[in-house]
Subunit: 325 residues, 2 copies
DNA sequence: ATACAGGATGAAACGCATTTCAGAGCAAGC
DNA sequence: GCTTGCTCTGAAATGCGTTTCATCCTGTAT
């Protein structure tokens, strides 16, 4: 309940001196410093950070916008951002949007409202152009390639990664390749389609809409894929699965049904999650942890002012060969 | 950049009127309300929430303290808390502690510093007694049973749940039962040991230290259990595994090594995670989502002042019979 | 005509810590 | 002896929105 004024009064100094003690400024005599610190302890004084935020114009909070927390992809990214934030003494404010555009705008508004010093967008449903409008109020970093923008981004080149996975499958003799996506209209799906179409062209294969399996987000969606494959007249011999958890579900269900992997169905996952390592899943490591850390690092530079121009940082990816192809 | 004073000046009204418009108070004439709203739009005014927080003494933020975000148990709990927070317009500030006591105190200090209106502790390393000291500064809700305390808690009765699982195993003919834990000195481990010792007594079985497998947190730890079982002279015929992910690792590895489940090894998981449903894992549903939601609901009541006394809310659990026993 | 309730409005106090500025005291340098 | 440059200190301005209180006005009840 006590405030800085009360401390000053009881310690017999001015509020400025108390503030100096609080902030470890030099130029306070040992004697007064001790007196102030004693009074602080006696009165169990705790600073009202809201006043600090108001006067300094900084909150040491950053917002992290994502559709849902309970998903391995976002957990990993979040872990990375959190790691960076922790070591720089920033706090993370969770903005779980469920891809609701209103919620997303609400999150971005925190920047306008000075509630946060910056925001990292893991995934959003509103357009990059709309996000761009918020750059006037503070730094924004996105974990998706959004092209040349007024905000920074950290991403992996999904087209390139997909191309690499496809090439690998072709080298292994596959011509009938399908893939799964989380949602059809996401930027990464778009990026993947580019590489996919390229491949079809090259192999002279037709575009089979049903080989692009939509709404594959978690392990059970993965298990459900088998059923979807069984009802197809023509089945792909290989599947690129976005997410090791989805792939794990698929592999499990394949085993249960006696479909042998990789002989009857080759699978490549994404994310390089522990579950994939355990299952011997060939996967693309897309460096989620590093991406999160890098996102924070860049945001931090923007906040500190050491970097004012938006940066686009493309991360490497790596094909990890295991036993599912 | 504009502030309420500037809006007032340009709209030709007082700051009080602007504030009233901002907060949808009645008693503002239609005409002035419109004038103010127009000016707000023109100047692209955004409220400085830090000033609001300072004057109102509330931030609409709550802290959520947990060791790591990248873990299914905490993800599920967090999802629940987040759900509640969202619908009550509260923000979640993530305090990832890694069980560092300093970090935990830092999180609790946010309460003293008025940075948050309340805090929910999912799991902590510091003692309940130390947490209790912070209750003077604001409401705290823990997701573990800490006995009669000055803070509220939401929990499941781990002893009871364990007992139920053990009874079930005994009914199925098992006498040699082991179990896994995340860390040996956690409150839930203690609770489980009570039921476990009871069972040993009843069956007249000796306490075999090696049948309590420590440090089992994720899927790979689960897979590693098989190796640990193989080097034992005597092996348990059934294992209670804390976490469906750990159990999934174990099941997978058992299959790989040709150990049939449940014939050679029966397994009961915890958490009722989708991965367990997929694998036909018998498990105890400990209502993580509901626990998170309930934790927030109680915290909310404390913040609103509708509930001032600490409450202890014990949640039900449910044994879900599937094929692993 | 009088009283009273309620709508509408603005001035001012309030919440609290940081920072600038001015000034005092004192030592070192010329 | 005088200037320069620290060290140390406090008064006051600052950041910005909310809320209380007093006041004025208008319509309705008596």
């Amino acid at each position: 309940m006590a405030n800085i004024k009360e401390i000053a009064r009881q310690a017999g100094v001015s509020v400025s001196t108390v503030s100096r003690v609080l902030n470890n400024h030099p130029y306070v005599s040992e004697e007064k410093r001790n007196r102030v610190m004693d009074t602080i302890k006696q009165l169990k004084y705790a600073r009202n950070m809201n006043a600090v935020h108001l006067i300094t114009g900084r909150t040491m909070n950053i917002a992290i916008m994502l559709p849902f927390v309970n998903h391995v992809y976002f957990s990993a990214l979040m872990e990375g951002v959190g790691k960076g934030a922790l070591s720089a003494s920033y706090r993370l404010i969770l903005c779980q949007t469920g891809y609701s555009q209103d919620k997303e705008r609400e999150a971005l508004d925190m920047l306008r409202n000075r509630e946060v010093d910056g925001i990292v967008v893991l995934s959003s449903s509103i357009s990059p152009t709309e996000i761009e409008a918020y750059c006037a109020y503070g730094p924004v970093v996105c974990c998706q390639d959004a092209g040349e923008r007024r905000f920074s981004s950290v991403y992996i080149n999904h087209t390139e990664a997909f191309r690499k996975a496809i090439r690998y499958l072709i080298r292994k003799g596959h011509r009938h390749i399908g893939f799964t996506v989380g949602r059809m209209d996401s930027p990464s799906t778009e990026a993947r389609l580019i590489a996919y179409r390229e491949m079809l062209e090259e192999l002279g294969e037709p575009y089979r809409k049903e080989w692009i399996l939509d709404r594959c987000l978690d392990i059970e969606d993965g298990a459900a894929i088998m059923e979807r494959l069984f009802v197809m007249k023509e089945r792909p011999s290989a599947l690129l699965v976005t997410g090791d958890h989805v792939a794990a579900g698929l592999i499990y269900e394949a085993e249960r049904r006696g479909v042998s992997i990789p002989e009857e169905l080759a699978v490549i996952g994404f994310d390089n999650h522990p579950i994939g390592r355990m299952l011997g899943l060939t996967t693309i490591d897309n460096q989620l942890l590093q991406m999160g850390e890098m996102a924070f690092a860049i945001l931090h530079e923007h906040i500190e002012g050491t970097q004012t121009a938006p940066v686009r940082h493309e991360l490497d990816f790596e094909l990890i060969e295991r036993a599912s192809v």
